[in-house]
């Protein structure tokens, strides 16, 4: 007979299942920050270990996805900080032009590349929203923002991207 499982062990199984089915998403998400396959793999691995250790503390499994994306993001940012690669944006004004690198030739710069050049906080919102297909509420949960702040950040990023697109 099956025993009723505790929430903790159910969460554990859900987590393992999620790692099995979504690992490519997790990898790509981290890769967007660190831009190196080996580092990205290390970070997904580290985050998975952290997740396994902490999964018992997660009360509501419906937050598992955003909870784990947050771990992934924190791990990525910590890595970049340690390696001094994080360009801190602070509060960037709308009108600050985000220049293409000069090495960029006459080729049209794509939206994907433009997203890549956004300051980290805006980039995260865009990646979660458009690449990971998250709802605004999930984006907000992942970034631990309130929904309005997440929305405002998203719109600001879109405004910048649009303006840049027009300039192209």
């Amino acid at each position: 007979m099956w025993k009723r499982k505790s929430t903790a062990s159910k969460n554990y199984e859900l987590f393992v299942e999620m790692i099995g089915s979504c690992q490519e998403d997790f990898y790509r998400f981290v890769y967007m920050y660190v831009k190196n396959p080996d580092n990205a793999m290390d970070i997904v691995q580290e985050a998975t270990i952290k997740g396994l250790e902490k999964i018992e503390t997660l009360r509501d499994s419906s937050y598992m996805k955003t909870w784990f994306f947050r771990i992934l993001m924190n791990e990525s940012l910590n890595f970049l900080k340690k390696n001094q690669k994080l360009v801190s944006s602070g509060e960037v004004e709308d009108n600050v032009p985000y220049q293409c690198e000069e090495s960029q030739t006459v080729d049209r710069i794509t939206l994907y590349e433009m997203v890549d050049r956004l300051p980290e906080d805006m980039r995260s919102v865009i990646i979660l929203r458009f690449y990971e297909d998250m709802k605004i509420s999930e984006v907000a949960q992942t970034l631990q923002l309130n929904e309005n702040t997440a929305k405002a950040r998203l719109y600001k990023a879109i405004r910048i991207l649009k303006r840049q697109m027009e300039r192209e």
Partner: protein
């Protein structure tokens, strides 16, 4: 216009090293907090997952089977679409999983020949396109320092679904997915009037005012849906999310549609075209 579909495609193309899944599996087995029993459970879970995948693949691969179930005793549904060919082709770069349907039992040889030719040509074209994608992805992978022997083969699935098959109408779709990347999901619809042997247009089904009728119906359905369910989001509706993409305005000339079992027209929009990706391909029944 911000082309999110294209941008997501580029994101989905970031190659994932094969080593990743092995490493994560090891981590999971090693870090089972409750000691020795967890790995065992994990193994059960893996087995369960494998069975599930088998199930899903069975259903996916063999839609012919589903189609037969679909069309045998259900009211007025007649079997006219059969599996012509079902094959898997595999090399280091890709696993191609193709089911080619064919039209039979219509009593109209010309129609069958024409449609079957069209289906085969379409599928060949889809395969060529997909192979090009694989090559591009491989190129990008090698350029970014990937090793050819570690490339995870691209999985391409081509199959079909029957939407309606009664005395008068035959409506079915051929669809394609690539490597589970949702931005590569594509669908092609065939709507045939079996009495005339002609391919149906929206004008045939909804009359000369088809565009106005469908546009009004879709707009009212969008408004109703967004009102009753806050998770339903369409671009430009309620101005909640100016995503840099124009929302639905009016029906385009070569709008995708099919006919459902009740004989109603169902308008289908491509993913990302009028709503964010998590909404999938929005569909609207026009009565």
């Amino acid at each position: 216009m911000l082309d999110w579909k294209e941008a997501k495609k580029q994101y989905d193309e970031i190659p994932v090293p094969e080593e990743l899944s092995e490493r994560l599996e090891r981590v999971i087995l090693a870090h089972s907090p409750a000691g020795k029993r967890r790995p065992y459970r994990y193994r059960i879970l893996l087995a369960a997952a494998a069975i599930l995948i088998l199930f899903i693949t069975e259903l996916n691969v063999n839609t012919g089977f589903a189609a037969q179930v679909d069309s045998i005793p259900v009211l007025g549904q007649i079997s006219r679409i059969f599996v012509f060919k079902n094959y898997v082709q595999q090399d280091e770069r890709k696993i191609l999983n193709v089911t080619v349907p064919e039209l039979k039992n219509t009593g109209n040889d010309d129609l069958e020949n024409r449609v079957n030719n069209e289906i085969r040509m379409k599928i060949n074209e889809i395969i060529r396109e997909a192979e090009k994608n694989v090559e591009e992805c491989m190129e990008a992978y090698l350029k970014t320092g990937g090793n050819e022997s570690e490339f995870t083969p691209w999985i391409i699935d081509i199959n079909y679904d029957i939407k309606c098959s009664d005395e008068q109408f035959l409506s079915f779709e051929i669809w394609k997915t690539e490597s589970l990347a949702s931005s590569y999901f594509e669908r092609y619809f065939y709507n045939i009037d079996l009495e005339t042997g002609k391919e149906l247009t929206l004008r045939d089904l909804l009359g000369p005012d088809y565009a106005e009728i469908a546009t009004a119906e879709i707009k009212s359905q969008i408004e109703q849906r967004t009102k009753t369910d806050p998770d339903q989001l369409f671009y430009d509706y309620g101005k909640e999310e100016p995503e840099g993409v124009k929302g639905f305005e009016k029906l385009s000339e070569n709008q995708m549609f099919y006919i459902n079992k009740e004989g109603n027209v169902v308008i289908v929009f491509e993913k990302y075209s009028i709503a964010p990706g998590y909404m999938g391909c929005p569909e609207f029944v026009i009565r």
